[in-house]
Subunit: 641 residues, 2 copies
């Protein structure tokens, strides 16, 4: 099974057009300036400058993190996706120039990582655990594959193949090679793409090696630490590597519970699932399923966010999902979308595409402002502004997005997710085309030898359905029935038809005539959702959702004291859904009847409980768009209920 | 107005006898062993050893914190209170030996602090901000005053007077003296005691100086830092002192919001109120009231705990009282009891004694185990055991008490609070005796020139009232009507009498005959209490209380998922109060009807809300005694409601 190629799908969707336009018209140009240090009031990037220094085009010192190179790669990848569907000579020229610079910076032996070319010369391949060489290599590979696919130009692909070949000479099972693997996964998923782009088996084998080697005893990271005299990459002296942090505490097939740094975890699992899809290795498939189940059934926020603690930007443990002290890095949500896509490749099941949809409409795009120029690193589900300023436990949480980050992993990651969203909509195998997402678009796919086009019109997420105009042929059209739907009507050319539903997809096989249109109308009522009672943070609370959209309350629309609001049962809430074109660039707001506790004056801290609620009409907006107006004192997804 | 002297009150109370006996029979002997490093499996103290080294009785290196001396002083103080009411030749001998050792360690010029006598010779009086010289001096003064009061022996009093005189020569307004004050307050409140014990005005003046000088510009701590080349007491290089942390950010009269390290704050405010009671300085009285109001109306947990964050063991800000990530150091609660006592001295108002009662029955004694050998430093109101082990935000919270701490401030602090509790029960002025606490006891006081005895019998906290047998004379008897009482009956010799109630005290003036008995019976129903809606952490929740006792639910009595329990209205809860002599050394447990959310299986993380509560009979135990049985997975004071 494979997903539709980036060049073969063009999004035209009321919801996503704005995001795509922002990515092309605002985020990509803005981030280019950021990478070139041309934005005032923003943290310096140094990413382009580092390559210039490494290429000896200019002089200076390395700036930024050990993974600074990856910002340029992620930008190139996003730009490539944009170029694949939207010609832009100016942008292509910029990319070509950047690629020329990268090629010029590459060392003769193929090595390319400016941190080591400039700052830590001679220390290449001495600290896979803490330093991000393979992570940066992975991002450059992804950029190279994307650019080649978009433009047909292979200069960067040649660069990364040479680098990967050098890595392949350095790492492996053979005597004299390092039994290494990345401290920050990413290389694995990139190698799958490189294998797909080049057909070179050795890249698949290298991927298999680093995945299989991970977490074996004696532990490579621990040995490597001891070889360095127990000194970490940041100069500290330690006895033991925190192996859980980087998912190297056990061989991957024995990892059943997601742990450690959430982005690392998401990228690793994506690589594992990608490899499993190529090799059909049953033990690896099982490990992927176990990890998927753990992440999405025990450690995933309702927004699709993952990584519940700031310390280590990490998973904590099952059902521990505080809403205020959470981390939920934007990149981590994106990594879950990657993982979901690869799980779908293993097995078409709406369990995966439901999560994919949850992530893309909520916990990922919450990371950027409505104009695409400001970003959240951390995505809390409950904010008390004063606490973000004054309390240490929420000190890592911001109530306003920022222009750019010194550690700028999230903004370009969002840009590449948005510009490649077309590739998530459909996949196909020899007999069937699968529609995973309801995003208006024109797509062309292969079903075995047949070429098929699909023109999708979607009124989601604000409306209630989508229709698919298909091209002729005998094939199966399979479309997801989302878990949020409380009922649906499936019709062909206006006539209701029955459909066989398997694992959350409705399957229709027939001889299609050009223009045959499959329509789906969902029951997309406002819903109050509760969490598993083991999620202590959500106990006694409910969240307002409608279709794929998770809602929140902000003080600006309600009251300073969001926390003192109490939802009623849905039946008593008189929810109304109003499309407001002027609000937050056009969204459905939800209004409803709720209760609020009366204030008791500032002199009373504790008092005997009495019936003290009064009615309030609440107004909820999509969570992804919170914090885009004047700062609210409070925001909350989960409300007392 | 003054409180009853320690020698003149003897507690005989069903609730407190056990605590007093533990203090005398267990805590004081146990802590003596701890101070002498004779307890296996406990962190080393080194406190006695340090004095031996300083006294040149043995050789070795200083062990412990810069404030290690204070542990011995606090122990001596507690032992003194015990000796004042319970003769114990063995204990007195130990104290005398310890005092001989201290005297021997004192330098010829009067200086006594083993950290500086052993480890940092020549650095005396160079870092008032970070080092605890004046804090340790304060504790030694308190010990000396207590020991003199208990035994009439003044050897330690002489030691501390010599030391204080040296400090008085070093600190002051005069040219050439340091304009210093303590980084960790304590010295201030001790100087009041030293003034009371010796009648020496210079100690009151020194107290006034360090209080008035605090927080003035240019800031002494900042100047001191710069003089040391910006190096802190722990060797870090910093630009600015965190002045809020040590309450030196403003002159004390401008401090209206409690800030910084909670114990420091509590001790400072106690010193301020103690000074105000001596000087009647109106501006200082106002500052004390403002700080009292802020602490008790905006930053105090229902248990009397203060200090809502682990970072800095500190106050965070108004209404920010998370129940799980809280600090609530045992010492901080105790400091609030001290503050309350001094506020009562300024003005008899049940606002102060209600808080005093709240602290002593709940958030202070929660710091020790039922056998007096294990201690909590941190007193959370909500615990999820797994989170204390696996989540960084609650990493400072323990679900089991520990034997001793390297930083052992809390255990001896508890010991001295418990052994001196008699002094909190009554105070008197020229015409009136005030009964602040309902604790069975025999007391003798002066009302002007009259000598009065009061024999109190109390059935609280498990029963519903108390009676006071008075000795003859014409005077006013004033007794607190607690804020938790929903009604009361006041009678004299069995006949109900009216009483004038002012600021929470019922006043009765008459010619008392020997044995006249004033009885109070309270309406002491189980109550559900709610917090001010600005306390976000308690929104939608209620706490079960009865009289002065705050209750909690532990998993061991209920279910693992305490968080998924929902209280009903009091009227529907069918609360029953059962005195169980075998439970937790004899307590009232409260049982009631509540609801609990059905589990939804481990595969469901989020689902549409439906009516899914089922009935459960809950069982609540006093918060102060939580964690004394097999570890519970959860404990909570605040329950969904």
């Amino acid at each position: 099974m494979e997903f539709v190629k980036i060049k073969n799908v063009k999004i035209d969707d009321d919801f996503w057009n704005r995001y795509e336009a922002l990515a092309r018209g605002s985020i990509i140009p803005y981030q280019w300036k950021a990478l070139n240090d041309e934005i005032e009031d923003a943290d310096k990037s140094g990413a382009i400058q580092n390559f210039k220094i490494a290429a000896k085009v200019c002089e200076g010192e390395f700036h930024g993190f050990v993974f600074q190179d990856s910002d340029l790669s992620k930008w190139l990848e996003a730009a490539s996706y944009s170029l694949a569907t939207h010609e832009d000579k100016e942008l292509e020229k910029r990319c070509d120039e950047a690629i020329d610079l990268i090629a010029k910076a590459q060392r003769e032996d193929g090595y390319i990582d400016t941190y080591f070319l400039i700052k830590e010369k001679g220390k290449e391949f001495t600290n896979f655990c803490d330093w991000h060489e393979l992570y940066c290599a992975g991002h450059m590979i992804e950029a190279a594959v994307a650019y080649a696919e978009a433009t047909g130009k292979t200069k960067l692909l040649d660069v990364v193949c040479r680098f990967t070949d050098l890595i392949d000479k350095t790492i492996g099972p053979e005597e004299g090679k390092l039994h290494a693997y990345p401290g920050h996964p990413e290389f694995e998923l990139a190698l799958i793409k490189l294998y797909e782009a080049t057909g070179e088996e050795r890249y698949l084998r290298l991927c298999e090696y680093v995945i299989n080697e991970r977490g074996k005893e004696p532990n490579f990271f621990q040995q490597e630490l001891e070889k360095r005299g127990n000194i970490t990459g940041w100069g500290a002296k330690i006895d033991k590597v925190d192996l859980c942090y980087c998912q190297a505490h056990k061989p991957v097939r024995k990892q059943a519970e997601a742990t450690g740094h959430a982005v690392r975890a998401g990228y690793l699992y994506t690589g594992m699932a990608g490899l499993a899809a190529k090799t059909q290795d049953e033990s690896l498939v099982s490990a992927c399923k176990a990890l998927w189940n753990n992440v999405t059934r025990k450690q995933m926020y309702i927004t699709g966010g993952i990584g519940s603690q700031g310390h280590g930007e990490a998973f904590s443990f099952n059902y521990h999902m505080p809403n205020d002290t959470v981390y939920n890095e934007t990149c981590a949500a994106i990594s879950l979308a990657f993982f979901a896509k690869k799980m779908l490749e293993l097995n078409v099941d709406s369990e995966y595409s439901d999560v994919l949809e949850r992530v893309i409409y909520n916990g990922s795009i919450s990371g950027m402002s409505i104009d695409g120029t400001e970003f959240f690193y951390v995505n809390p589900l409950e904010v008390w502004q004063e606490a973000t300023q004054k309390a240490a436990v929420t000190g890592h949480v911001a109530s306003r997005r920022r222009k750019w980050f010194g550690c700028a992993c999230c903004p370009p990651n969002l840009a590449r997710m948005i510009t490649s969203l077309g590739t998530y909509i459909y996949s196909s195998d020899s007999s069937t085309v699968y529609a995973h997402l309801f995003i208006g678009s024109e797509a062309a796919l292969n079903i075995g030898n047949q070429k098929v086009t699909i023109s999708q019109k979607s009124s989601l997420p604000w409306g209630d359905g989508a229709s698919f105009a298909l091209s002729e042929g005998r094939y199966t059209f399979a479309v997801r029935i989302p878990s949020w739907s409380k009922g649906y009507t499936l019709s062909i050319n206006g006539s209701v038809v029955p459909a066989e539903v398997k694992r959350g997809y409705a399957y229709i096989t027939r001889d299609w005539k050009d223009g045959d249109t499959v329509s789906l109308a969902f029951n997309i009522d406002v819903d109050i959702v509760v969490a598993n009672p083991h999620v202590r943070a959500d106990a006694g609370k409910g969240a307002i959702v409608r279709g794929p959209i998770v809602y929140c309350l902000e003080s600006i629309d309600n009251t300073e004291l969001i926390c003192s609001i109490r939802l009623k049962n849905k039946e008593d809430s008189n929810f109304t859904v109003i499309y407001e074109p002027e609000t937050l660039c056009g969204v459905n707001v939800i209004e409803g009847d709720a209760l609020i506790r009366r204030d008791c004056g500032e002199d009373t801290l504790y008092k005997t409980a009495k019936d003290e609620y009064e009615p309030i009409r609440i107004r909820a907006v999509p969570y992804a768009l919170w914090g885009n107006r004047n700062p609210s004192e409070e925001m909350a997804v989960w409300l007392n209920y």
